[in-house]
Amino acid sequence: MSVSRTFTRAFSNSSSLSRAGYSTVKPVHHLVKIEKAALKPNYQSLLVPKDDILAVGYKPTEIDQDRLLDHYHNTIQSDLMLHFYKHDAQKISGNKKRSWGEDSPYKMYRPQKKPVGTTRQTRDINPINFKNIPQLESVVVQIFNKHALEDSYLNISSRLLLSQITNVKAKQIYAKANILPWKMRAGKPCGAKVELTGVDMSQFITTLSELVLPRIRTFKGIKLSSGDRSGNITFGLDPEDVKNFPEIEAFQELFPNLTGLHITFKTTARTDDQARTLLSSVGFPFYKA
């Protein structure tokens, strides 16, 4: 039973029924997710922003003087601006993704070529002026606990350790890959991580540079070669060194199997040298390995 073509092409209602048509309007209704639960009147109290005193989770933030930030604004910032000033400096463009060209319409929506030699783009390096003086953004403290791969309850103590040291609740991190010799399975909890900003960051840095690091006898400093080439510097602490944190020192029996820490300083500096100069201003020594 075939419908004749002349009939389907006719200017009538039945034509649209037998044709496989499509809409040119993009369907949006199921792409934009709307949390209708949040519209419930019971949840109105949860929608109040957290810095409002009427909010359920209100936590006063500015309760203390930030010694490190004050020092930065009063002394370091202008020094850094003068130090990094370079006359007639130009922007150094990063390694960016490349266009395929515009000579053919087929290249129009093609995903761009990868950057030369790498897979990741790098950032532009702008000359330092009064608007972009390097500053500490955040500090990421991370623990990898290999014992937790076998017994996941062992991860609780490393989470607690991190939370005690940093005053921020630590997130659990999970293994991403299956690596047989390390007994690693994807999805197993294997450590903890916190990202510190603001007062917590300043507090952690002062504790580290004034209390912990001076008591490590073998500590020489952060390696001058450390850095990810875009202004973020990482160093590690051994399990023995972690004992020097005042929060751990008095309760060593609570943390029988200590693990080391990885500490990453994220800065707004775009080169490692700038980041090192910035970090040395808060009392971190560097050494040539």
Binding site: L54, L82, H87, F130, S157, L224, L254, T277, S280, G283
Partner: protein, 162 residues
Amino acid sequence: MFKSMIPNGNHSHIITNTIFKTFSRGKRTATTINAATQKIVNQLSALSASRKQPKLIRLCQEDLIKHRTIVNAWKVFKRQREQKRTAQLKKQYESIVNAMEDLKTSSPELFELASEKPKKAVLFPLEMRTPTDYPANTPWIYNYSPPAKFIKAKKPTTPESS
């Protein structure tokens, strides 16, 4: 049980026992977990947020208005402080640029020297400290010189060469 209901002097103590019996659903035993498990439970409870949520602050209308006024004033103060800081930095930056421009025209040799940049990272001295509320009795050592091992040894000048 039935025996105890019979009024008999001999069984009086049984009566009291049976009447005042406390009933419980199932058998209750004291839960004992070993020390290691208890330790983990303690650690978890230290991490979890339950029972640590502070009470919701209930302010009267007047207190709320007071609080909001103070918060707004603090925000204004912070914004003005930030603007002042930025203006100051901008002024400093412009004077650096002007000075270098000036030097470029007036003395090219000095300009070359001034615009030389070290290839390695220049670090702040380790002796520099973040200021504290209670400084030492001698806050600043005016005639400070670094320890001997940090001073580069100068080449001894022989009398013949001089």
